[in-house]
Symmetry: C2
Subunit: 148 residues, 2 copies
DNA sequence: TATACTGTGTATATGAATATATACAGTATA
DNA sequence: TATACTGTATATATTCATATACACAGTATA
């Protein structure tokens, strides 16, 4: 049992948070369907080379958000949430970040069009040649600092 | 000597960081021109009701970024940076936030158009009626006076 | 020089965030 | 029941962020 989690050891962003963000996205985007049995905390701890307690925290946090359901002795599953609610979570995760960006933009007096242009640029850069033959160049994504 | 800094005591965002973000924006957007003498650290500390050391840290951080210049015994000034470089800083402050948002969006499989739409929404919400009845540049209620 | 401003350096308190080991408890099944 | 898995609870180490007091040093000027 394996799920795609990529940790950046360099980043100042704490492990538990990196894992949470990625796992949350997998669930909320439907890539991990309802009822899916996740790896055990020990298994995922081994995969990610961090402690069991850290993974436990991740599972616990996501359970508190209603995304997971755990049964002691059995395992941890993707919870069933109604589509409406899941959409909300999916949306709000992104909207929060967008609002932060918009705020930053307004503060330094960028126009709406300029900001939208910058978003277009960023997307183009991060989603290289979607439709072309790209293969290979590992676009320098990655290490950002923690958000404020 | 007074500069418009608004602190949110409730926020989890630390004081020094709130001040830095706002002061950086004032400089980088040109609202505080080159050569402007800032309030002394003691004065700004009083205005913001936080300690001198905290303000000192702010000034020091911004000096390390090249935005300020301090002369012991005299005061702290807005540094002269060539327009190119200042534009870069203005831009990168926003771009970083935009990239974070884009990353979040891609993770949950939003399309570019959806993300752009969300940004439009956010801007509309945060910059209400910018072509309607309101005249004036709308920014910052609470008075911007500026005498020297 | 005396005074009253500037910024600077050192040393420190405090609390939260991060991560951990280890022992405990529930569940499934041969 | 014995075993081998699950998750859980407690207690703790460590580091970093935040904020501070207070003595020190440079500058301007009456």
């Amino acid at each position: 049992m394996w799920i795609p989690i990529q940790l950046n050891e360099q980043s100042a962003e704490p492990l538990y948070h990196q894992i949470e963000v990625q796992l949350r996205a997998l669930i909320v985007s439907g890539q991990l369907p309802e009822g899916t049995l996740l790896p055990s905390i020990r298994e995922l701890a081994q995969q990610t080379k961090c402690s069991v307690i850290t993974i436990r925290r991740v599972y616990q946090d996501l359970e508190n958000e209603g995304l997971l359901r755990t049964r002691q002795g059995t395992g941890t599953f993707v919870a069933q949430v109604d589509g409406q609610q899941r959409d909300n979570q999916r949306r709000s995760a992104v909207m929060t970040a967008i609002e932060t960006a918009a705020e930053a933009g307004l503060r330094v007096h960028y126009t709406d069009d300029e900001l939208i242009g910058m978003l277009r640029e960023a997307l183009l850069r991060m989603r290289p040649a979607a439709g072309e033959a790209e293969h290979g160049s590992g676009q320098g994504e990655g290490g950002r600092q923690h958000d404020g």
